[in-house]
Amino acid sequence: MLDFDGLTKRFGRLTALDGCTFAARPGRLTGFLGPNGAGKTTAMRAVFGLVELDAGTVRWRDGPVSAAERARFGYMPEERGLYPRMRVRDQLVYLGQLCGSAARDVGRSVDSWLERLGLAARAADRLDALSHGNQQRVQLIAALVGEPELLVLDEPFAGLDPIAMDAMGGLLSDVAAGGATVLFSSHQLDLVEDLCQDVVIIEHGRVVLAGELAELRTRVPQRFVDIRYRGPAPDWSQLAPVELIGARDGQARLRAGPGTDLAAVLARVQDRADIVSFAYQPPTLSELFREAVAA
């Protein structure tokens, strides 16, 4: 369990973190969300002692983070960077050894990750000889080497193509399933919604929404109706108390307040069009996010 307890950091008059408090739990993926400049990167850096906090502490397993524990955490900074002229395997073994593991164990771990990410053939190449995508994979291995119990990734999905995103998502899920605590920041809300069990949303250095995603979604009273249909568009204005949010050819999303008569809505739509699908759902993560940040 990684606890952020009242983290406060000011840079002159600029407050980056303002009593930021939340936790990331082991065996789960925690999505760390917030608009640009909300303080995500500062909070993540605080885990690694890269920021001198004005107040608050980061705790790991209910105690202060020791230097030895910190060295074993995996970290992928927002601004990626490795030694461009160093060979891939040498570089990863070096970074792994800095964690405190024995050379042989690190070598084995590096080789298995290189194999798994399809880079085994490039192990002896210089990093700058690799493509951008492959360099990103090496950066990911740098965080994963030594099988850390805590993995902190700052925007791991930025700049990845859809296939690479899927691979990264699968990998992070596997790492979490293996018992590790995984915290990552992202602006890709759909992706976070698919992957994460827990989310934390911060703004102006303060947590505005945090918890289990499924629970957060059901806790709010609003529900949404997604309809796919064939035929002419129904007259949505007749559907009150349901409110149309968006419609385009053959699809519509409606906001349903508490106590909406779903059967009536369904009947009304069926009068005009053939329904392909009809779904009654809690809000999506991006709707939760917009509401939390706008408030």
Partner: protein
């Protein structure tokens, strides 16, 4: 436990530096080039000397009896080897001189013929031999027996003493110290720049954030300095070995006998000097964010270093003066000046120990300071960070209040991202005042040094050195690249 982890990590950093740098082609090429240059510097002059000590001399016409043997004997006494050729005719002898077969032709026992300018040493040897041979010939003619003549002509041993040197101090020690100081200056310039560029490279590639998440800045910096230092030492050792082999092969230069204590102290100060300046370079390097910032951030050291080096040279002339004492204690000049004073025998036993303690304390302080600056400067990747901003980030709490709230916010945001701020009007006038005050102090310092050492050049160097280093420090502190320009 914590300390042990830091040491282990520092050693890993050192090992990486050694491996990666030793593997680079640039390093191997520079090493090979250095060995070739040093060897060439020692071997080529010896090879240019004809015959490597063997001189070819031609004889023609009537010569005093036994001249050839006398020339050979005189040459031997002068440390040369003479090979004598006889020519039946003057023309043949002159031909041999022109073709370079012989260096000098002795014609009729009284005329020396050279191809170009006369070699003074050879001329002295041959002239001396002719005089000797002629005196012997005349002695025989006067009826003096050869044994009596030999007794008359027996050389008197003459010894030479250098009165400029104090008893108990040898010129060999002095030479050794001058050479060591020169090598130290060279090494700090080369390997200090390597530390600086290494730090800037890690900041430029942003790998530093990955590293500092795992290891303390102190361990990273200390490991890097040790790695580059060991590599430099290896480079010097290989070059010295090449020089030794070259000297032995040529047999041209005597290797001076140095006192053990002098050599030991010289090595200690060498290591200290490197560690001190490398730490300084590392700390300043953390203020920049890419290789191009090297000049901007390391300017003060680059200017100060030659001043410190040359100051130690002037000191050698007066090792017991107050100025010499002062610069042999001041940590930044001690590595250059103290070994010289030790070699001159101008120190009490406790003096080098005290200076050593001062330097060690400075190094430890610098490593702490560098570690702090390093961690704070990591968050920054814009133009070179000012020392003030790097330090401010280190001190907890908000920056002091500013009269204009909006500007203060702008200021703070800039400080947070480490950008340079434009100068305000108050900054400008305080800058003018600062320049005036500094010029005054520099002038006073220059005059004082000039009067104390009765050397005008030394005074000018001291004054100018102080001024430029202080101005650069101020620029570094405020983060302004040059003379202020008003923006309002």
């Amino acid at each position: 436990m914590k300390g042990r982890q830091g040491v282990r990590q520092g050693w890993l950093v050192t090992r990486r530096e050694l491996r990666e740098r030793a593997r680079s082609r640039a390093f191997l090429a520079s090493m090979a080039l250095m060995v070739v240059i040093v060897a060439a510097m020692l071997i080529v002059p010896a090879m240019l000397k004809p015959g490597g000590g063997t001189r070819d001399i031609g004889l023609t016409g009537r010569a005093p009896a036994g001249l050839a043997a006398t020339i050979a004997g005189q040459a031997h006494a002068a440390g040369l080897k003479a090979r004598i050729y006889r020519y039946a005719h003057l023309a043949a002898g002159e031909q041999a001189v022109r073709q370079g077969h012989v260096e000098v032709l002795v014609s009729a026992g009284q005329r020396l013929e050279w191809q170009g300018r006369a070699d003074q040493q050879l001329k002295a040897v041959v002239t001396g031999a002719i005089q000797l041979a002629v005196v012997r010939e005349r002695a025989a003619a006067a009826g003096i027996r050869p044994e009596a003549a030999a007794a008359l002509l027996a050389p008197v041993p003459v010894s030479s003493v250098e009165l400029g040197h104090v008893a108990g101090r040898s010129p060999a020690d002095e030479t050794a110290v001058i050479v060591m100081t020169g090598i130290l200056f060279f090494c700090i310039t080369i390997f200090g720049a390597m530390v600086l560029n290494g730090v800037l490279e890690e900041k430029g590639s942003r790998v530093v954030e990955v590293l500092l998440a795992r290891i303390p800045a102190r361990a990273l910096l200390a490991g890097k300095i040790a790695g580059i230092g060991l590599l430099g030492l290896a480079q010097i050792a290989v070059t010295a070995l090449a020089a030794f082999i070259a000297v032995t092969a040529v047999g041209s230069i005597d290797i001076p006998a140095i006192r053990g204590t002098v050599l030991a102290w010289a090595v200690v100060w060498f290591v200290l000097g490197y560690a001190l300046y490398a730490t300084l370079y590392g700390a300043l390097g953390s203020l920049g964010s890419r290789a191009e910032d090297a000049q901007a951030v390391a300017g003060p050291v680059m200017v100060f270093l030659p001043v410190a080096y040359f100051a130690s040279f002037f000191m050698i002339a007066q090792p017991a003066s107050a100025a010499a004492k002062a610069i042999s204690y001041f940590p930044l000049t001690a590595p250059f000046a103290m070994p010289g004073r030790i070699a001159m025998g101008a120190t009490a036993w406790w003096e080098p120990v005290l200076a050593l303690a001062l330097s060690l304390a400075t190094i430890i302080g610098l490593v702490q300071l560098a570690g702090r600056l390093y961690t704070n400067a990591i968050l920054h990747s814009g133009p070179a960070l000012s020392l003030k901003d790097a330090w401010r980030n280190a001190t907890a709490g908000p920056a002091p209040a500013h009269p204009h709230a909006t500007k203060a916010l702008h200021h703070a945001a800039r400080a947070a991202t480490g950008r340079k701020t434009t100068m305000t009007t108050t900054d400008l006038s305080s800058h003018r005042l600062l320049v005036t005050v500094l010029t005054g102090i520099a002038l006073a310092l220059g005059v004082t040094v000039a009067v104390l050492t009765s050397d005008v050049i030394l005074g000018v160097i001291a004054g100018f050195g102080f001024f430029s280093v202080t101005i650069m420090m101020v620029r570094l502190w405020t983060g302004h690249p040059g003379p202020p320009v008003e923006h309002h």
